[in-house]
Symmetry: C2
Subunit: 364 residues, 2 copies
Amino acid sequence: MYIVKLWEKVLLEIVTMATLQEVAKKAGVSITTVSRVLNNSSKVNEDTRTRVQGAVNKLGYQPSRVAQRMRYQQGHSKLLGLIIPDIQNPYYSSIVRGVEDVAYKRNYALILCNSDEEAAKEKFYLEVLRSESVDGVIFPPIHEHGRMIGELVKNGLPVVCVDRRLANLTVDTVVVNNHKGAYNATSELINLGHRRIGFISSMPHFSSFKERRQGYEDALTSHGIPVNEDYIRLGDQRKPESGRVFAHELLGLDKKPTAFFVSNNLMTLGAIEAIHQKDLKIPDDVSIIGFDDMPWAKSINPPLSVVRQPGYEMGRRAAEMFFQRIEEPDREPVLVMLEPTLVLRDSCRAISPDGQKYAEIKNL
Amino acid sequence: MYIVKLWEKVLLEIVTMATLQEVAKKAGVSITTVSRVLNNSSKVNEDTRTRVQGAVNKLGYQPSRVAQRMRYQQGHSKLLGLIIPDIQNPYYSSIVRGVEDVAYKRNYALILCNSDEEAAKEKFYLEVLRSESVDGVIFPPIHEHGRMIGELVKNGLPVVCVDRRLANLTVDTVVVNNHKGAYNATSELINLGHRRIGFISSMPHFSSFKERRQGYEDALTSHGIPVNEDYIRLGDQRKPESGRVFAHELLGLDKKPTAFFVSNNLMTLGAIEAIHQKDLKIPDDVSIIGFDDMPWAKSINPPLSVVRQPGYEMGRRAAEMFFQRIEEPDREPVLVMLEPTLVLRDSCRAISPDGQKYAEIKNL
DNA sequence: ATCATTTGTGGTAACGATTTCAACAATTTT
DNA sequence: AAAATTGTTGAAATCGTTACCACAAATGAT
C-alpha cells in the first residue's frame, strides 16, 4: 500500500509528442518560422534560428511523417512496400536485405508483408500499401495476371517486380534467368550420364517455375531425351514436405530416377530427407541439384550442388530501379535479367548410360 | 545480364486516388454522408446508402490511412514497428514471422527495420517509427540501457522487448531462458567427459549473450571445473567468419578444447568450417553444440546438437502482448520467459577424462 | 529624399478523413 | 394546432505540416 506502483508514476509523466505549435510557442515565433528553420527553405535571422533550434532540441521535436504526407500527397512518404511470399525462406530474406540496404541509404523505411502465396493476403497488403500511400511497391507477383496491381500502376504508383514477372503489364522487373539455370543444371546431370532425371517443382502460374520447367524440358529434348511426365512432380514450394513426398513417389517407381533436379530450396531439403529415409546415398545412389544457394548448402551432407540465384543482388537492383523510376517517372520500363550460377559441389556423380556407376566421378 | 526495353509504354491516363470528396460528388451527397455509409456510424437512408455504395465501388475508393491517422492521433495506425538485427538470420526471421502472423489476423501491417546491431540505425528507425505514429514497437534492444526507447515509453508508446531485455525500464518482454540453455548445453558436454570446453560467443552488452556466458561459467564451476579465460572468445555474432577465426585460435592452443559450445547460429557455422579446415572430425575429434535450431541443423554433417530457441513462438507471444497492452494500457508490464530445448543429435561424443576417446559413445 | 529591393516574419489555405453540432423535414405526441 | 421526437443530411472544426501570399522593416540605388 505504501509502495506506489512504478507504472502509475510513469503514466503520469506521459508526454505527448511535440508539434510545430508547441515549438513555435516556446520559441515565441510562428509555426511558419519554425518550419523554415527545420527545412531551411528561406532566410531566417540567425538569432531566431538559434532560438527555434533550442526549442526544438528541448522539446525533442520530430516532424510527423504522417502530417507531412498529407501535404505532399505523392512520392514523399519515404516508405517502400515489399510483399514477399515468406520471410523465413532465405532466398527471399536475402532479397529483402538487398532492398533494405539500398532503401536505408536513402532514408527510406520498409513495410514488409508476407503473402504466403495467397492471393487474398497479397490483395490485402496491396490495399494497405496504397492506403499508406507508400512511394512504391516491390514484389514477386503471385499471379502473372494481376488485377489489383494493374490498378495501382494506373494510379501512377511505381511498381517493381522481382523474382517473377507480370504478363499483361509493363513494369520494371528484376528476374534471374530461370530457363538457363534449369537448363544448365539438367544438362550437367545429362552430361554425367543420367537419363532418368526427376524434376520436382511448383505450379506454372509462377513465371519462375514455368520457366524452370521449360529449361528442364529443353535440356532433355536438346540432348535427345524424351520428356517423361512420370518424372515431373509439381507441388507446394513452400513446404519441404512436398519435396519429401514427391521424392518418395519417384523413388518408388519401377524405373526410378538416377538423379533429381529440384527447383526450390525448401523442396530440396525435403527431397534429401526422403533419399536418406530410403537408405540411399547421395551421390552414390542418387545425384541431386537444388535451386538457391543457401549458407548451409556447403555444410550439409554431402555438400549440395545448386543453381545459385543472386538474391541480395536482385533486391538491390530492384530497389535501385525504384529510385530511378521516381527520379525519372516517364522512362520506359526495364527488364533486368541476372545470370544464375551453377555451383557444383559433391551431390552429383557420373554414371554409365545403363545406370551402372563409374568407379570415379569423371569431369565431362 | 541483359537489359531489355519492353515494347510498350504505359501512357494510359493516370488516375488519382479517389477521395471522399469525389465519391460524395458522384453520389450527390456530402462527404459526411459518405463517411457515415463507410463506417455505418449512424442511420442513413437506404436509398442514399446504395447510391453511395455504388459510387464507392465505381471509383474504387479506399480511405487513406494517412488521413485517418491525422484525426485519430493515437493507436489507430494499424501499423506495428519491428526492428531486428538481421532479417537474414533465420532465428530472427522466425520471430518476424511469429509477429506477422498475429498482426495479420488483426489487420495490422509491419514496418520492418534491420538494425545490424548498430545503435545509429536503431535510433534512426525508432525515430521513423515514432514519426509514422505506429501503434507499437517490438524489438530486441541493442543496449540494455536505451535512452531513445525510454523516451518512447514515456510518450506512451507500447513497446515489447523480444529476445533481449532492457535493464532500466519496465516494459513487456519475451525472452528465452538463456542461462538455462547455456547451462544445460555445457553440462551435457561435461557429462560426456569434456573438461576443456571452448566458448565462442558475443559481447555482454546484449543481455542474451551475457546470460549465456553466465550459464556456461556456472555449469563449469558447479561441476568443479575452473573457468579458463583462454577458452572464452567473444566477437561479432553477425559473422560466421568470427566463429571460424575463434575456433582456429582455440584449436591452435597447446591444450586445445575437446569440445565447443557456440552461442549463436552463424558463429556455429563458422566454427564447423574451421574444424573441417583443420582436418578434424566431428564428433570424433571435437564435440560441438550450437545455439538456435535451424531447419538445416539436422541435415548438415554431422547432424548438429543445438539449444533450440522457440523463435516463432517468441514472436507470436510478443505480438500478443502488444495487443493486450493496447487493450489494457494500464496493466503492469510482464516478463515472459520461454524454455529452451537441448536437441541432441550426432555432434557430441563421450571422452574419457584424460582426453582419450571411448570406443563407443556412452549415454551418461 | 524617394523609390525599389531585400530580409525576416506571420497568417492562412490546403491535404483527406472523422466527428460534433446544427438544420431541416417528416412524423408523432400532447 | 402546437410541441416534441425522429430521421436524414450538411457545415465546419480538427489533426500537423508545408507553401503561397502579404507586409513591415531595413537596406540600397538614384
